[in-house]
Structure formats: C-alpha cells, structure tokens
Amino acid sequence: MLKNYLKIAWRNLLRNKSFSVLNIVGLSIGLAVTALILIWINFEVGVDQFHEKKDRIYEVYNEYPIDGEIWTWNSTPKIMGPTIKKDYPEVEGVSRYNYDDTFLFSVDEKRIKSTGTIVDPDFLNMFSFPLIEGNIKTVLEDVNSVVITETFAKKLFGDQPAVGKVVKIDNTDSFKVTGILKDLPNNTGFNFEFLMPWAYLKQKGWNDENWGNNSIATYVLLKGGTDYKAFSEKIKALRKTYDKDSPDMVTFLYPWSRYWLYSEFENGKEIGGRIDLIRLFGIIAAIILIIACINFMNLSTARSEKRAKEVGIRKVIGAEKGSLVGQFLGESILISFIAAVLALLIVLVALPPFKTLVGKPLSLDVMNFWFWLTACGVILFTGMLAGSYPALYLSGFKPSAVLKGTFKKMKSPVTPRKVLVILQFSAAIILITASIIVTQQMKKVQDRQSGYSKNNLIYTMMEGDMEKNYTLIKEELLTTGIAESVTKTNSPITATWSNTWGFEWKGKSEDNMTLVHRFIVDDAITKTMGLELIAGRDFDLKAYPTDSTAAIVNESMVALMNIKEPIGQTIKDNGIEWRIVGVVKDFIMNSPFQKVEPMVIEGAQAWFNVIHIKFNKEAATAKSLAMTEAVFRKYNAEYPFNYEFVDQVYAKKFDSEKRTGKLVSLFTLLTIFISCLGLFGLASYMAENRIKEIGIRKVLGASVQSITKLLSKDFLKLVMIAIVLAVPISWYLMSKWLEEFAYRINISWWTFALAGIFALMIALLTVSYQAIKAAIANPVKSLRTE
C-alpha cells in the first residue's frame, strides 16, 4: 500500500512538473531560511553554555539611582572581589577580569602583539577553559607566569614545547610560560590568547583599593547548594561597610549564564538584550516558513478538482477516508522531504555568505544526532502542516458528486486563498518599504558630512618608545615631506574616550548635567584633521606657547554655553582654566546616526594615546606608508608598526546598520519570491478553473486583451487591499525604527507609492503570464472538454 502511495505521489509530481517545482522550491526556500536562522539562534543560545559550573557563576553588578532612574552596570572596583571572598563563606571562588589588554610578546627576534587579560588564579577553576599542559592549581601562582593558548604558543615557539620557556612582555618583564590552554571555542564571549595573574598588576602598581574606581569585571562562584535569593539579600548592602562615597549603591549578583542573551537593564529591570534580535528573526523565519506552507496548502487545494476524480474512484473501489488522508499526507511529507533535501543544499551553499552577513562563526554540524532529529521533525511537521488541509478537504469528497462531474467549488467572496494572497502581499509590501527606508536612511547618513577630511589620514596607537621619541618622529615625518601634519591625541578621531558633566563656565546653571566630550590634542588639530574653523584659530605651539592651556570648542558647545563671543572666554576642567581660542564646525567622532554632542578640544596638558598623521597628498599612499614605517622602526624598534586608515574605521560605523539593511533586503526578496510562487500557482489554477468561461467569452467575441484584463483584475484587487493594509503598519514600524536615530530621514508618501507600484507590477507580471496564456488558447478545445 505504501509503495502504491509513493508511486502515485511520485508520478503525480512528475506529471505536474510546474506545480511540483513551485511547491518544492517555495517550501525549500522557506525551510532553508528557517534552518539558517535556527543555526544562528542555536549559536547565540549556546554561547558560554559549555562551562560546567555556569549555573553557579555570577557577575557582580551595581545599581544606583541617578536623576530618579535606576542605572545598572557591571564594572566594579578592584577591591570588590577580594572583599567578597573574605566576607562571605558561601563563595567558593572569585576572579577579577581586567578587560582585554594588548601586550607585545617577544621571543628571541620574534615580536607578536596579542590580546589577553589579567585574572585571579580562581579563573581557570570557575570557567571551563581546559589546560592541555600545566597544573591548574599552580599555573597562575607566580607573579611572572603566563598561560597561553595552543595557537598562540605555536605562533611564538613553533613546534617547540612552550611550557617553561621565557617570553618578554612589552620589552620590560620576563614571564615564564606555565600552561597551555586549549584554544577558545567559537561560542564564547571571552577573547584572550593569554592569561596573566593579578599579582602582576599589583607588582606594576596598577592595582588600587579605591571603591570609586569601577573599572573591572568581577565573577563569583557560589558553593553548590547556596540559596541565591538569600545570598542576594546578604550582599546587597556590601558598600555600606566599605564605600564611603556611595554607601547606598546596591551590589547584586547577576546569573552569568544569562549575560549573553539578556543583561540589558532599564530602570533596575532586566529588559532583554541579544534575545530581542533573536526573537525578531525567529518570528521572521516562522512567518516565511508559514507563508511557504500555506502556499503549499493553497496550491494543493487549488488542484483539488483534478484530484477529486481520483478520490471518487478510490472511494468507489474501496478506499476508506483514513487511508486517503494517509495518502495525501504521505504525498505532502514526500514533497517536504524532497524540499528538505534541496533546502539542505541551499543551506550548505548559503551558510558561508550568511555567516559573513550576521558576522558570527556559525557552522552546521552534520554529524550531530540532534541535527538529524530536528531535520526529521521539521520534515514531518511541515509535511503534516502543509498537507493537513488538502488531505482532509480532498478525502471528504463524495464520490457520487465528483464522478458525475457535477462537482464545482463554492464561490464565496472571502476564501482562505484570497486572505492568504492579501497577507503575503502585505508582508511583502511592509518589507519593501522597510528596504527602501533603510536604504534611504543609510544613504543620508553616509552622505552626511563628517566635518573632517578622512583622506590620507592614518592613526597609530602610542606604544613603547613612541611617547619618548614623539618630537623626533614628528620632526622627521614633517621634514622628509611624508606628512603634512602630525598631531597626538587622547583618542582616535573616530571615537571620544572621555566625557564629563564637570565642565564649568560663566553662566552655567547648577542643574545642567549635559555630558560634554573631551578631546585632548597637542597641536595643529584643524590642520591634521581638516576641521573647519568658524572663528578664532588653530592650536599652534610654536607661535603661541600658552596653547597648552588653550581650548577649541565645537558649535554645539557654543550653543550649550549660550554665549555670543566664545573667543577669549574660559572653561574650567580638572582645575585648569582653558582659554577658548577657536570654534570649529561640528564634526562626527562618534555615531554618524546621532547628533553631534558638545565638545571641548583641550590643549597639550594631559595624556596621549594616539598619533594622527596626515600624509602628503602628492605622494602615493603606499610609498608614504612604507616611509612612515621606516621612521617608526627607527624610533620604536621593538614594536611592529600598526596603523589604521581613518576612512576605513569611519566606514565601520555603518556595519551594524548595513547588516540590518542587508538582512531586510534578503528577507524582502525571499518573501516576494515565495509570494509570487504562490500567486503564480493560484493564477494558473484560476485560469484552468475558468477555462470554460473564457471559452464562452471568446466565442461571444471577447478580445485577448479584455480577457487578460478580466483575469488579472481579481488579483490586482487583492494586492490593492494588501497595500491599504500594509501602509499604516509599515509607516508605524519604520517610524519606530527611525526614532533610534537622531539624524534621520523623513518618511515621504512616495516611499509607499513606490512600494505599492512595485508590488502591483510584480503581481501583474506573475498573473498576466497565466492570464494571457489562458486568453490566447483556442476556445474550441476548452469547450470540448466538458
């Protein structure tokens, strides 16, 4: 019996090639999209879930009301960890984590920069990062010990055994390699190639016991069986005992296994995090799969008249309803199986680009038992879902009616099929408008004047002897004509690293808590960056030695200060009176999507981290780079020369939005495609169904044109309804989306007009093929079929 079903199903597929292709392609795309998104979700959900003790690990968080709102954050004082370990017997282990640091490692002549961190010895006991070599109890005991990953060990020592070897770090301290870590898996939020003991930080004098300096992460491992709730109550008032400045700040432990997906707080409550995006795309995947499934149902039931005869015959020769339901379900499961195979191929091909698109190291584990179980589950579920309606509908036919040929479908004004077309096209139109608006917004922001000249501008971080030799380096770069201008700053031009509401100026009101950014530079800032001066002058230490206490402000700052004549005024910060010598036009250092915030550019009093170099525009960039590298090698021999092009760094500011834009476009295309598949199938069904009517009309003298119009009209009406439904929804959704950006486009009516016309055209193209085909057919043939 099963063989018979399969045979019939298979022959049916072959006989109705176009129908089968529509069904299978539509379904396989739906399945593939779902699979890709599931792979992604599976990755995100699995991040850092492999740690054996993850359910007992907590991260220390603080809570504090500011301006009537509760703020929550996770950086802690360095003294927090030891204090907790000392005071609470429930704690099994504590590790501080001094955010990622970059050091220069040298072995003989080899120099490699690497990112890692400084932790307490408990770290390796708490988190499951296994050691390949070394004793977990002692690897981080000694001040000058370092644990490195397998790959990093290979980079440093090649195939030589690494344990026991000595490396020099930042040219100053010698460390002994005490352990080799297995390389970190892809699915962890940690990113380090080496771990050094906290003792080293102490030795360097970087440790402090200041409760006001909240700058590191602290992880706590509770003993098994500890009541988390009770412990939270206990630890809440920790700062009352120790922190004199802010005794009311609440300390709490956040379950660390939730940090990846959640850990976003608003007013003291966890409000989500990455999980939001995951949910959103999960919903999109479900919608695409459901649209594909309903397409399948629709196409199958649309063909029911053809299958009706078969049902009748089978019933007359003895089939029971159950076996017919089984047969049709079997057929749809077969189709979904074929679609799944095709989907698997699509996934294999599409995974690498999808990986790049979402920017995650995703992989498909085909050896995994769960993968196959899920796959089978999805095939069965989809097959059942897509096949259930046609199966029940078809198997319910009365044989006497269908075999007599009197069987005709009822014509109700609202059929599920029409509703589906409307829904599909509403989704398509919403996505089309979303694509248009996202593209417009991106273009607007990308076209936005950054306010400085990014061409021929590079920066490099100050390392090693750069600070000491800065004057020599600058001198040589300028005299050899490599550079037009050189400026050192506290942060790269592409980000501000410092801000405060502590600036004071004449007439500032007491309650003004506006955040003002601080940019610290030595000299010639407008020349190097190409900033536009509105009033006053650039810093020029040669001509004006007092410029080390001068300031340049941007337009927004002038607006904030609310003064007419900024030049000559002073601003107080860090105990220094900064004299304003210039005003520049606003320029974008942070997000180009937001408005430019007030900024004070301070003169050469404070500390520097970055050197900016404006190349001579006459020279080829490659040549300038090579020459610059030679200069740096001369004055900072121990360190490799690393640099960034400012324009490239600036372009990265658009990455996340570009990604969103690409994903939206992708889903738009897929939704349109699947919707068109469905529409195409329905149009062909309609043409077939009305073949007699068309024949009669033609015999009575209707033209091909009028018949095409007649057949297309019905569908276009549905698309029109879809437009009416979709426009307010997409207007609402996109307004919401745009609200996130201070610098944004206004949604204009023509966006919707364009999306609507686009949808109509696509629908028209899809339908008219079938309509014309039906209209030009010979009426004699169609009338004879009755």
Partner: protein, 223 residues
C-alpha cells in the same frame, strides 16, 4: 433475493420548492438478473443506480441488501457492504491515470488488504481472462476507449462482486466496442452468475438484459 427497494424517495430543495429525483421507487432484484434501466435524460437513472450502489443516500423508504437494512446502517458499515459485494463500471471508465493497467486492477485488492502473492495471482488471472496481458504496463491514456472500458470492467470484477452496476458503460464507445462490452456482460451474467444492473440509452444494449425498468421524472413507468 439480492436487494429490495421499497417506496424510495429522494429530493432536493431548490428555491423553496421540493424537486423529486426519485419518487416512490419499488424494486426487487434477484441474484443472476441482468437489468437495464432506461429513460430520458434527467429521469433519475443514474441517481437510482447510485442509490443502489450506496454512493448516494435517499430521503425516504427502505433498502435491503442481502438482508441488511441499508437505510439504517452507518456510513462506514455501508461502505464495507458495497466494497464487498458491488463493482462499478462508468461511462468515462474512471481509471486512475497515474497507474498502469496492472496497478489499476490491483487497487481494489490493496484496499481489501489482500496479500502480495494473492494479489499477483488474481491480477494475472484477470489480465489473462480479459486478454490484456500485453497491455499490463501501459497507462490508461495509452489505450483506446474500448480497451479502457475493458480494464474498467476487469477492475469492477476483480474482487469477485455479486453485483455489477454499470452507468452507461458504452456511452463513450463506438458500436463495435459497445458490442464487445455488452457481449462480455452477457457472458459474465450467464456463465459466472454475476448480477448486472446497467443504465443505458440504447434499446440495442437494453436487449441484452433480462428485464427493463423505465424511468420518467424519477418515477417507474410501464411502457
């Protein structure tokens, strides 16, 4: 006695009026009879055949088939009854286009859950008996109308029914093919004792039968 219809009424309501499809039909059929139902278009011939074949219900009256009261049986039970004892032959053959001749013949046996070896033997026997062994792997569309109807009759017979119901079995056939099919019916009736009820327009075909029932506007009439 094979079956007995007593005072069968069947109607539909259309525009507030009751239109009778069958009106007070009384009919008794003995085993081994060969009955022809005749009458003009719309007189209720096919409806009567469908009622007898239990494919259609009726609104009033009683129907006994092999001493079972069809009118009081549940749908499923009724289906079992006709599956067991009745074979159908249609004007437009109604073969399954996706299956070969052999597979079409095998179909009813599958639904009756015969074993594979049994099915093979019965199908082979039937192919042989109807002289269509050479056509067994062809699809219905590759056959002529007469050959298709031959397969249709063979399929109706394959499960060994007591009664064959044929709705204008020769309606789509030319005269020579018609004659062949009617001869076949006659042979089945006389040699194998199969009861046959056929609907026909043709006097010539009706003459093969032992009894003629005339219908007019859903009523049995005597001519």
């Amino acid at each position: 006695m094979l079956l007995q219809l007593n005072n069968i009424f069947k109607w539909v309501n259309s525009g507030g009026q009751r239109i009778f499809l069958l009106k007070d039909i009384n009919l008794q059929v003995e085993e081994g009879e060969f009955i022809s139902i005749m009458g003009p278009s719309g007189s209720g011939k096919s409806t009567l055949l469908n009622v007898i074949g239990m494919l259609d219900t009726f609104d009033e009256g009683t129907y006994d088939f092999l001493h079972e009261s069809v009118h009081s049986l549940k749908e499923k039970h009724r289906a079992n009854l006709y599956k067991e004892y009745i074979g159908f032959v249609f004007q437009s053959y109604h073969l399954l286009d996706d299956l070969t001749v052999k597979e079409n013949l095998e179909m009813p046996l599958l639904y009756k859950k015969f074993k594979g070896s049994e099915r093979k033997a019965i199908v082979a026997d039937m192919l042989d008996r109807f002289n269509i062994v050479g056509k067994k792997d062809l699809f219905p569309t590759q056959l002529s109308g007469g050959q298709q109807q031959l397969v249709g009759v063979a399929r109706a017979l394959i499960a060994n029914p007591k009664l064959i119901l044929a709705d204008e079995p020769t309606g789509n056939l030319n005269s020579q093919q018609s004659e062949e099919i009617m001869e076949l019916f006659k042979k089945l009736n006389e040699e194998d004792g199969v009861t046959i009820i056929q609907v026909t327009h043709s006097e010539q075909n009706a003459a093969y039968g032992s009894r003629i029932i005339n219908l007019l506007d859903g009523r049995k009439v005597e001519i």
